[in-house]
């Protein structure tokens, strides 16, 4: 590494750590813990109807009032939202945003790994999602294995340390996966590398049953040990801790939510049957492209379905996916949410929800629920977020038009009553940032080399915009 190159890298990293966060609206944000009054908006409460010409009062990060002519303290910040709409923050029940690693694909059961250990709080896509009114993400492990890693639910408190992202009190969860990705159907056979079990949907079932059989035995060993301790027996040796099986024991005890990636109807039924055999519940079927074929079975099990609203045809198991999936499942009593599984779509889940109306005539309120209250229920956080009600967290966005319209965009996004995106602020800062950027580019070590090309920016692991098959992409990187 030449000294010149070294200096250039140094400056670039300064650029990335200083300028980029500034560009994305992190700097000089005042803490907003006081009162904010959003005045005269159309408030889409989601659970209590649409309130025209109404106010939302935010106090200490919570919704303190919803209604007409609310009074705020003299120091309150008042936002005139005449002609605008207020929607709860959108909750994306399937995201891989801010993950520096997505798949631990080496084993069929990886319940010992946690996505929480790979979070990047400076991911610019987080700010872009906020600018689309999204405030909560279910960060899931990829779909490489029947039993994947542990999830994390975050609020997009962009620019803050990771600890501030973690959704307080959100029940823990785990990713399961079925079908082509798990079988590695679309993965290349690498020479000299033995294929990982399972290779078929038969094997997938066996992996699941085996894991839960082991988890039951493990739990029994601990139960027996605790009983013996309770009886006052001496010189006991406790069972060895198994961090792969511990999460599965939590599932058996109903303490960890299962989010299961699936496509075909038969595999959905298979998982329900495994869950019944071992006495646990699936909280959500993720993607569930053929959920509409077995909607009543999903409803009977009590599971939700978190889906792409209209993605289809990119692989064989996605060929029977239809955009009417949301409508059929909702009518059958399934709690349906519409997710992004993509940093790109996470910016416009509002119009994704509108598709549930186009295809199958879901009502406006039900469509809005599919990106707010329903995913909140699926994540067990519906008492905190997902609707505009007094006492709930002030996670919401002001839209300049009806959020189900393509012509609308977000003006301001709040998380816990703090502004994390504001379009006017964003626009106001652009000129200043442009100057700063130009200045940095003129710095001697950043000037283009003789060959006429700009220096290479540091490589960032970039996920494809359309992440319908996250496992494949990972595998192709040797």
């Amino acid at each position: 590494m030449t000294p010149r190159f070294f200096v250039r890298c140094l400056l670039l990293s300064v650029f990335c750590t200083v300028l980029v966060p500034v560009a994305l609206g992190q700097a000089s944000r005042p803490a907003q813990t006081g009162e904010i009054l959003i005045r005269n908006a159309t408030v889409l409460t989601v659970t209590r109807g649409t309130l025209p010409n109404s106010d939302v009062l935010i106090r200490n990060g919570k919704i303190a009032g919803v209604g007409r002519n609310l009074k705020a303290g003299t120091n309150a910040r008042v936002i005139d939202a005449t002609g605008k709409y207020v929607l709860p923050g959108i909750i994306d029940c399937h995201s891989h945003s801010m993950l520096d690693a997505i798949n631990e694909g080496s084993l069929a059961v990886t319940s010992m790994v946690r996505v929480q250990d790979a979070l990047n709080p400076t991911d610019p896509d987080l700010y872009r999602a906020l600018a689309g009114g999204t405030t909560t993400l279910n960060l899931l492990h990829g779909s490489a294995n029947p039993i994947g890693g542990l999830n994390t639910v975050v609020k997009i408190r962009h620019g803050r340390p990771i600890d501030e992202f973690i959704f307080p009190g959100a029940p823990p969860g785990i990713k399961f996966a079925l079908g082509e990705n798990v079988k590695r159907s679309n993965s290349p056979n690498l020479p000299g590398v033995q294929r990982r079990y399972p290779n078929t949907r038969m094997g997938v079932e066996e992996v699941l049953r085996d894991a839960f059989a082991r988890a039951r035995d493990y739990k029994l060993s601990w139960d027996e040990y605790q009983k013996a301790v309770g009886r006052g027996e001496k010189n006991l040796i406790p069972p060895r801790r198994d961090i792969q099986l511990e999460p599965l024991v939590e599932i058996l005890g109903g303490k960890r939510l299962v989010h299961a990636h699936c496509y075909r109807s038969d595999e959905i039924l298979m998982l329900i049957s495994v869950a019944n055999e071992f006495g646990f519940k699936i909280k959500t079927f993720q993607h569930a492209l053929e959920g509409y074929k077995v909607a009543k079975e999903i409803a009977q099990h009590g599971a939700g379905a978190s889906i792409f609203v209209d993605n289809w045809g990119y692989k064989i198991e996605a060929y029977d996916s239809i955009p009417y999936n949301a409508a059929i499942m909702a009518r059958s009593g399934v709690n349906v949410s519409i997710n992004s599984d993509s940093d790109e779509r996470a910016r416009r889940l509002n119009t994704e929800a509108a598709k549930a109306m186009r295809y199958g005539n879901v009502s406006e309120e039900e469509a809005l629920k599919m990106i707010t209250w329903n995913p909140a229920w699926q994540l067990g956080i519906q008492n905190r977020v997902g609707s505009i009600e007094v006492g709930k967290d002030a996670d919401l966005a002001i839209w300049n038009g009806h959020p189900l319209s393509v012509y609308s965009r977000v003006d301001t996004t709040f998380v816990d009553g703090e502004i994390f995106f504001d379009r006017q602020q964003d626009l106001a800062r652009r000129e200043e940032l442009q100057k700063e950027r130009a200045q940095l580019e003129q710095a001697e070590p950043n000037r283009p080399p003789g060959a006429g090309a700009a220096p290479q920016a540091p490589q960032r692991r970039r996920r494809p915009a359309d992440e319908t098959d996250i496992w494949r992409e990972e595998l192709e990187q040797p």
Binding site: R128, N311, K315, T351, M357, S405, V406
Partner: protein, 467 residues
Amino acid sequence: MTYTNKPETQKLAKDFEVQQRKRWRSSALVLLVFMVAPAGAQQIGYPTTQQGVLPPQGTYAIRNARIVTVSGPVIENGTIVIREGKIAAVGQTVNIPASAQQIDAKGLSVYPGMIDASTSMGLVEVGQGAPGTVDLSEVGDLNPNAKAITAVHPHSAHIATTRVDGVTNTVTLPLGGLISGQAALINLVGTTPQEMAVVPHAALVINLPRIGAGGGGFGPPPQQIVNLPQVLSGIQRQVDRIKEMFRDAEAYGRAHEAYAKDPKLPRPDRNLVLESLVPYARGERPVILRAEREAEIRSALRFAEDLKLKPIILGGNDAAKVVSLLKEKDVPVILTGTFSLPMREDDHYDILYATAAKLYEGGVRFCISSDDRGANVRNLPQYAGMAAAHGLPPAEALKAVTLYPAQIMNVGDRLGSIEVGKMANLVVTDGDLLEVRTQVRRLFIDGRDIPLTSRHTDLYDAFKNRR
């Protein structure tokens, strides 16, 4: 469309549906529709009657409609007469032929069908796991003789699922290599590729090599660029190969012309590859050049000027930075990045949402495309809607998916607006064409009454009442 009048619109639409049902009850076709409805699962394609057989061209009069002509003012309570595949009359008072089947469109709107200028519609059915259904790119770098129209699968399920949402035409592009092949402009209906073709050889597709993206622009970028000068000279060699081929084609064309005039000259052998390139080398047909970054767009423009081509820029993420040059050279852009994530970490969050508005303000000719291979082309109106949410006037957003793509593909006299003499590609809706919630109520392509069914409506009908 405003949301307050929605119930009214829905009521009107419902009335309309009832009328349609009455009309259809007498039709034998409708029986067929229900007979094939529970079509089998997971078969490739959509081989049912509606897709397989081209409906006849009829005489129709759509009455009492709000006619959004796109090229002129909106006509309230207007009538459109369709005859022999064409728009025969448009206006508030027009003569309706006695033979015309009348359609009452009270409360409904009529738009020209949308056109997506960059897709691979019909060239791929299932991208992963079914390579037999993929005909996207030929082997090798220089394939001007690979013609999309040859491989467009008329019975692809993507075709009906796309048109029922109001997209009546696509440009179907081959991909890959340096010269990918020739794109076709098609109607999304037909039993054979020839029946679908509007312009079978509409444009040549070229991927100028790019740093970090190889020649094709697909696949993961290389992890490290080892030696920049080496890479640049490699790129130059590839560009030189393309240029050489164009010059060969020009010479080939001249030689054959000369021989045709004077058979005493030595007879030049026939070369199918060069032969297919001749009209593009002569600037008679457009050449689509994929270019995203500013430097790529500028070098594409230089390339086209050097060879005196008729260029269209495809992609254009950075086109807003090249506005004055694009305007000066009068080169149009097929803008595909509206829904892409910004290319650079410090780009403004809305940079690509707002690119269309910047091109409009700068006077650059452009259209908006999904650049989807097929399955998601039906989302085209949402791309235009997002551009409208970020500064593009709504009327321009509508043009960007109707008239502008038609003009850019040199069929502005045949498609893209509601004018007498144009092909009758029309969409009857219950609201704003670009709004997601809007329903398509009636569809005409080439003056043919197209059933609003697809593989997706079939599966919906088959499963919606399962209890």
